[in-house]
């Protein structure tokens, strides 16, 4: 059995990120007895990651290009604070090989794969080539380095519908599904624009669109001693505009045999790339359980907690151990899945208004707790949700003995969850868990597009109760105003004062 030392080590880790994932990594450092160093932009001076870390240093203005993407400043802070290693989280510099090289050049440990493996597997086109060489089936797609005209010609040859995809990055940015050949030119332009803004690289390529596929991915862990294992799969088919919204483990669609086949293929591809640390191979699986490699994420993923809950393995702690040269604590035969876990991403988007981003000050948060509920969040009362960063503000993860147990627990937890001050997508998730097809795990990546009316679908109407509550409150204010101004009637000025005192915005 693995053991843990309680003695604080002298090791210090800089976390080159913000929000929930920075908090997640800092917690792992604390649990390993290591020191943590946070970095922050002007927008994040009061953020949780700054408060939870042992040390914190300012790295620039709010825009990420001037702070969280500034390799030079982050390296400077790492040296100044005496850090031994850097954890990049996800997003920002997590898949930037130049950053990994700069970290190593500064004599520090990069908690992730080598820059070479990142180059190879982080670029979607060369990752496809590596996968093909390792005998992994891939979706037919365009070769490297085509311009728009060539991509259009290639698409006509391949046949529509096709997917336009950014070579760099992830998170659904720079992706476009194209059914109508006439739309292709615009889609290429849009995808390039988004990719440039998000990853600083506007390279895109074309893939055959596999319709009604399920998005299923394999988590792998590899150490520096040649050990590589897979931690089962996650299903992330519930997507909106190619962004994952809900993830679960295990996939209700995957049986033990398919799991073993996909796991073996993922491990083979990772070995071929000499991959070390945590990584994820994403696949599209069709109705007949044929699977196609899509891309590899050479970093920790947003949805890693569902795998942690079903395997009992703390992936972030393993990442840190591996980076410091430790051997994996687990062999493949130690990995046994127990129960079922589901994660929902909480974003500052208004599901009643076509998921428009919402900005504002978070005035109050009530998080669900109790059995089988895990929260990962960077939120705090007083937090400003701005347009500078990703709208994902928290993750709610539930664990149950079966998928059914997990779904009802999720429903219960969503009922308890309140965020005031900004609009969130909690109402969307509440409706999703009531949907029969979701409950029956009868979905694919086209599910949300095929169910645009989900927000209207279900609602236990309490209009009358809401009307009564408002009327009683209005009545009380009126009575109060009557008393305060001596029974003369409701004075507008008094109302204003009263109103100002109560000025807490619900959304």
């Amino acid at each position: 059995m693995p053991t843990n030392s309680l003695n604080p080590s002298s090791r210090k880790i800089l976390v080159a990120n913000r929000g929930e994932i920075a908090v997640r990594v800092i917690r792992a450092c604390q649990e390993l007895g290591m020191q943590s160093v946070a970095v922050y932009s002007d927008a994040d001076r009061n953020a949780l990651h700054v408060r939870y870390a042992n040390e914190a240093y300012h790295i620039g203005p709010a825009p990420a290009v001037e702070s969280y993407l500034r390799i030079d400043k982050i390296i400077e802070v790492a040296k100044k604070s005496g850090a031994d290693a850097v954890h990049p989280g996800y997003g920002f510099l997590a898949e930037n090989a130049a950053f990994a090289r700069a970290v190593e050049a500064a004599g520090l440990v990069f908690i992730g794969p080598s820059a070479e493996a990142m180059d190879l597997m982080g670029d979607k086109v060369s990752a496809r080539e590596t996968a093909i060489a390792a005998g992994v089936p891939v979706v037919p797609g365009s070769p490297r380095g085509l311009n728009d005209d060539e991509l259009i010609a290639f698409s006509h040859e391949l046949g529509f519908p096709v997917m336009v995809k950014a070579a760099a990055g992830g998170g659904g940015k720079g992706m476009r599904m194209v059914h109508d050949p006439a739309e292709l030119e615009n889609s290429l332009a849009g995808a390039r624009r988004e990719a440039k803004a998000a990853f600083g690289d506007d390279t895109v390529f074309i893939e055959k669109l596999i319709e009604n596929g399920r998005h299923i991915e394999i988590q792998i862990l590899a150490d520096q001693h040649g050990n590589c294992i897979y931690l089962g799969e996650r299903e992330c088919s519930i997507q909106r505009r190619h962004q994952k919204l809900v993830e679960e483990a295990p996939s209700p669609f995957v049986d033990e045999q398919l799991r073993e086949r996909m796991g073996a293929v993922a491990v083979a591809a990772a070995r071929r790339a000499s991959y070390v640390n945590a990584g994820t191979m994403e696949f599209l699986v069709d109705r007949d359980k044929n699977f196609y490699f899509l891309e590899m994420n050479t970093r920790l993923q947003v949805e890693h907690p569902v795998t942690e809950l079903v395997t009992g393995i703390d992936i972030v702690k393993e990442q840190i151990r591996i980076a410091f040269g430790r051997r994996l604590r687990y062999r493949q035969e130690d990995i046994r899945l127990k129960g079922h876990a589901i994660e929902v991403r909480i974003t500052a988007e208004d599901p009643y208004a076509n998921f428009m981003p919402s900005v504002g000050t978070v005035t109050s948060i009530v998080e669900p707790t109790g059995p089988g509920v895990r929260m990962e969040s960077g939120m705090y009362e007083g937090m400003e949700v701005s347009l500078y960063y990703d709208p994902m503000i928290a993750k709610l993860i539930v664990h149950g003995d079966t998928r059914g147990d997990a779904v009802v627990r999720l429903r219960r937890a969503l009922r308890e969850y309140r965020i005031l001050g900004v609009k969130s997508n909690i109402p969307f998730h509440r409706r999703l868990v009531e949907n029969w097809n979701f409950q029956a795990a009868n979905f694919d990546t086209g599910f949300l597009a095929a169910n645009p009316d989900l927000m209207d679908d279900w609602i236990p109407q309490q209009k009358r109760a809401a009307a009564i509550a408002a009327t009683v409150l209005a009545h009380r204010r009126r009575q109060q105003a009557l008393v305060m101004v001596g029974g003369v009637g409701d004075s507008p000025s008094q109302w204003k004062i009263d109103g100002r005192r109560r000025a807490i915005h619900l959304w």
Binding site: L387, P391, L420, I459, A466, A467, I468, A470
Partner: protein
Amino acid sequence: MSTTYSTYVDGEELEITIHQDGSVEVEGERFEVDLQHISDQVVYSMLMEGQSHEVYASLEEGAWRILLDGERYEVTVEDERTKRLKAFQGPDKKLVGDLQIKAPMPGLVVKIPVEIGQSIAANQPLVILEAMKMENELRAPRAGIVKEIRCETRQPVELHQVLLILGEEPT
């Protein structure tokens, strides 16, 4: 003494009377309502004939924002005086005449796929606004004709800034 209000919730009108004893009458049905404050100015526990509801409430620009058991409602409550005043002022504005298309959030205009004078169908995209790294389409709330364009591509815009005026189609 009891007071009667006209209460509007999601387009529905309810006549609600609050009696001297605190009970509430809605369309002839009478309920015992116990609405209690918790700790601060916004959260309440409501027991209505034993049914438990959690209520968050705030009054903004004359309307009550109510979060009841986690669901949002916008409620307007009018007493008789206000109602009479309103009757005098005439009916509510509808989606007629010139319509201002405002930015629902701060962001960057990345595209304006329409031109002045162009005929627009309801739901047609008018402006593409980039915010939070995503492109967001602002669509026409009804059919019309583009009368003015008040923004430019690559221009950063503020919350509620008017971006475009959608006039009525000449009939």
